[in-house]
């Protein structure tokens, strides 16, 4: 589904990714772990196509297409979804209107008719309840006045609505209490299927108790320095990043 080859990227002139390699197949869940400043978020932003990040080398192949040739919205329409670490507010634009516009833009790209209004409402109501938010949130402005946890759950609601092929979760677990974490995990697990892949970027191991990954990668200084199964996360939890000879700016 996604092949990352020798990816180099910089932001504001600072080199962050320095030759990252990764192979993700359909049906797989990958966790990318690493200390702050290792390049985790940069990887998410680059995959989604944020033009504040400049790719200076390497290849990104998604479903046999060159991802770097695709605009942000094209990538989204082709099934790439990013759950933001810090979701922004769009005042006055309701969640409903936002999702409807998104879904119909994506459908148009895929040669489908606009989603029928009743069907759309039904789905929206189901999905918002799935993340344990009151349906009244659908009528509120996108993230407008939402608490941190509500914003994260709203991201998962959007993911469930858009049913992406490749879901990238950028520190979705940060700032969540245990109940919210479970809700988010349930949402992601509901989406898991043989034709979809999930990339979870996280600093901590605890999310992985609820979304069990197939692979865990440790990112440090812009490269993946170690890969393994889910047990690697536990080992990291126990021994800390120092075990791999890398400094963690933040003591977990």
């Amino acid at each position: 589904m996604l092949t990352i080859k020798d990816l180099h990227a910089q932001v504001e002139g600072k080199q962050i990714l320095k030759g990252l390699n990764l192979e993700i197949k359909p049906g797989e869940v990958h966790a990318i772990m690493g200390p702050n400043g290792s390049g985790k978020s940069t990887l998410s932003q680059v995959l989604a196509g944020n033009d504040a990040y400049e790719v200076t080398g390497g290849e990104l192949t998604y479903k046999d297409k060159d991802l770097l040739e695709m605009s942000t919205e094209e990538r989204a329409r082709e099934g790439v979804f990013l759950a933001f670490q810090y979701p922004v507010e769009i005042p006055g634009v309701s969640n409903l209107q936002f999702m409807k516009t998104a879904i119909n833009n994506i459908r148009l790209h895929r040669g489908l008719d606009e989603m029928n209004a009743a069907e759309f409402m039904k789905q929206a109501k189901t999905k918002i309840q799935q993340v344990n938010l009151d349906p009244s949130f659908l009528k509120r402005g996108v993230n407008e006045g939402f608490s941190g946890g509500e914003k994260k759950r709203n991201e998962i609601m959007q993911m469930l609505m858009l049913e992406p092929s490749l879901a990238i979760l950028d520190e979705t677990d940060s700032g969540l209490d245990i109940d919210a974490l479970k809700i988010v995990a349930d949402g992601v697990n509901a989406l898991r299927s043989p034709d979809r892949a999930v990339v979870m970027v996280t600093h901590y191991q605890r999310l992985l108790d609820y979304i069990v990954p197939d692979y865990v990668h440790v990112l440090a200084n812009g490269q993946i320095i170690k890969s393994g199964g889910k047990e690697l996360a536990l080992e990291l939890e126990e021994k800390g990043y120092g075990w791999l000879g890398i400094a963690d700016e933040e003591t977990a």
Binding site: A48, G49, N50, D51, A52, S71, T72, E73, R75, A76, R77, F81, L82, F84, P87, V88, I90, P91, G92, V93, Q97, F98, M99, T101, A102, I103, N105, I106, H109, G141, V142, Q158, L162
Partner: protein, 483 residues
């Protein structure tokens, strides 16, 4: 240049959609302004001598006035002798008696604009007066309105059919000497609509006037007068467009609203005069005086405006809240792009007890444009318990535009409460990225964000207008750089 910036720049630029010219034989005065021109306008309209005298008095006043320079707009001096003050489609000797007799070219023009005048293809539930250059070319639904006792006709006709009403109310809210452009309008006004809603009547239809400038080098000086007698109610809509021309054209209108006890007027405007091209060439100078006098107790006026057109907008729809418990509202969206300049806002003059006013003004600036909110809230000594709430929000798109707020507050009564809130924000890269990441292209994203920003105002517009306004914003924002 960022990708989103490029994407926006690459958008296909749709031309100003109402920029066509109707090829029709017109009778247009030579450019120039003099007492003689005013006499000729008056004669053309067969006006009674009292009205001619009224015009001449206004002209005298205007001659003694200086052009105002306090607005935050910049444009070359206007040569008032370069403008033609009257232009009318050449009809047969007599004016058309019904729409069936109107020149088909004219009807086509309005159809092209989406305003079908033929009642067969009428807008459901909306009576329309169409003003083409200096004359009204017809009003729809006359019979239905007459049945209800509502008068809705060209003001030039009302001068003859209801002289007592015109004499009583013309200039009663905006006197001839009010300001430079109002004085000019009083001297040379050509046509416009007159509305009279009798006591206790709720107007059965929305009333609408559609203004169209067609002739080159012609100014449009329409005058609208609406009188709502005690306990009556009317909703009035106004729309404006003009052809694309390289020269600037002057539009100096006056709107007067008179509202008696327990009556209500809701006045909505979608102003889409030609804004000039992307280099700032051409466009309409829109210098307008709009004022409502809430004379009666418990009277209410609500101004809602969506201003997307014109090279320069200079406009402050105001409310004089004289009656006790009277209410004034002002909801405004002013969008400027390219080299457009807008200096717009409102005046709320609280004179009666328990008078209340609300101001919600949204300014959106894109391109190299400049948008200013200018508002006055004045609480008179007798305005016991007056209340005002003002909210001014500015949204910037890109980094070459400007937004300014000039609020003036004067309170002479200690019991008054005046609140003012102001914010300035930018369409942020993060917001755009979120939208794009959900599959929404930049153009849609910008218009969605802007529409969200304007929501509080749009919900005040009648349904058909709200749809039009949303579309207008989209078109007006095309080609603007997000940066």
């Amino acid at each position: 240049m960022s990708d989103s910036d490029k994407a926006v720049k690459e958008l296909i630029k749709r031309e100003y959609e109402h920029g066509f010219v109707t090829d029709i034989e017109s009778e247009t005065f030579e450019p120039g302004l003099s007492e003689d021109v005013i006499r000729r306008i008056s004669a053309k309209k067969n006006e009674p001598s009292w009205l001619l005298d009224w015009r001449l008095k206004a002209f005298e006043v205007w001659n003694s006035m200086e052009e105002p320079e306090w607005a935050h707009v910049d444009f070359p001096q206007i040569d008032f002798n370069d403008i033609a003050y009257f232009s009318a489609p050449k009809s047969k000797d007599d004016a058309p008696k019904s729409l069936d007799e109107v020149d088909p070219e004219l009807l086509k023009t309005y159809e092209k604009l989406g305003i079908p005048l033929h009642e067969r293809a009428r807008l459901a539930g909306v009576a329309v007066d169409a003003v083409f250059d200096s004359v009204s070319i017809g009003v729809t639904f006359k019979e239905k309105l007459t049945e209800a006792g509502v008068i809705f006709c060209p003001i030039s006709e009302a001068v003859h059919s209801h002289p007592e009403l015109i004499k009583k109310y013309l200039g009663s809210v905006v006197p001839q000497r009010d300001n430079f452009y109002a004085a000019l309008n009083s001297a040379v006004f050509s046509d416009g609509s007159f509305v009279f809603i009798p006591k206790g009547v709720r107007c059965p239809l929305e009333l609408s006037t559609y203004f169209r400038i067609n002739e080159a080098n012609t100014g449009q000086f329409e005058r609208t007068l609406i009188v709502a007698e005690a306990g009556s109610h009317v909703s009035y809509l106004e729309g404006c467009t003009a052809p694309m021309r390289d020269e600037n054209q002057l539009h100096a209108a006056v709107v007067e609203l008179v509202i008696l006890d327990d009556a209500e007027i809701k006045y909505s405007t979608v102003q889409n005069w030609y804004p000039g091209d992307e280099n700032g060439l051409g466009g309409i100078y829109n210098f307008v005086t709009k004022r409502a006098a809430c004379i009666g107790n418990n009277s209410k006026v609500s101004w809602t405006q969506v201003e997307t057109g014109s090279a320069i907008t200079w406009k402050y729809p105001s409310c004089i809240l004289r009656g006790d418990n009277s209410v004034g509202e002002f909801y405004s969206v002013a969008l400027t792009n390219n080299f457009q300049q807008a200096d717009t806002g409102t005046k709320m003059i609280h004179l009666g007890k328990n008078t209340r006013s609300t101001i919600i003004a949204k300014g959106i600036s894109a391109g190299k444009s400049d948008s200013s909110y200018r508002g006055l809230v004045r609480i008179g000594p007798g305005a016991q318990n007056a209340r005002n709430f003002t909210q001014c929000d500015s949204l910037l798109i890109g980094d070459k535009c400007g937004a300014h707020t000039f609020p003036y507050i004067e309170s002479k009564n200690k019991s008054a409460v005046v609140e003012h809130e102001a914010t300035t924000s930018k369409v942020s890269d993060d917001q755009l990225f979120l939208c794009q990441q959900r599959g929404i292209d930049t153009e849609h994203a910008v218009s969605m964000i802007v529409n969200g920003f304007c929501k509080e105002v749009f919900k005040e517009l009648p349904m058909e207008f709200a749809v039009e306004a949303t579309k207008l914003l989209e078109v007006s924002l095309e080609g603007c750089s997000v940066g």
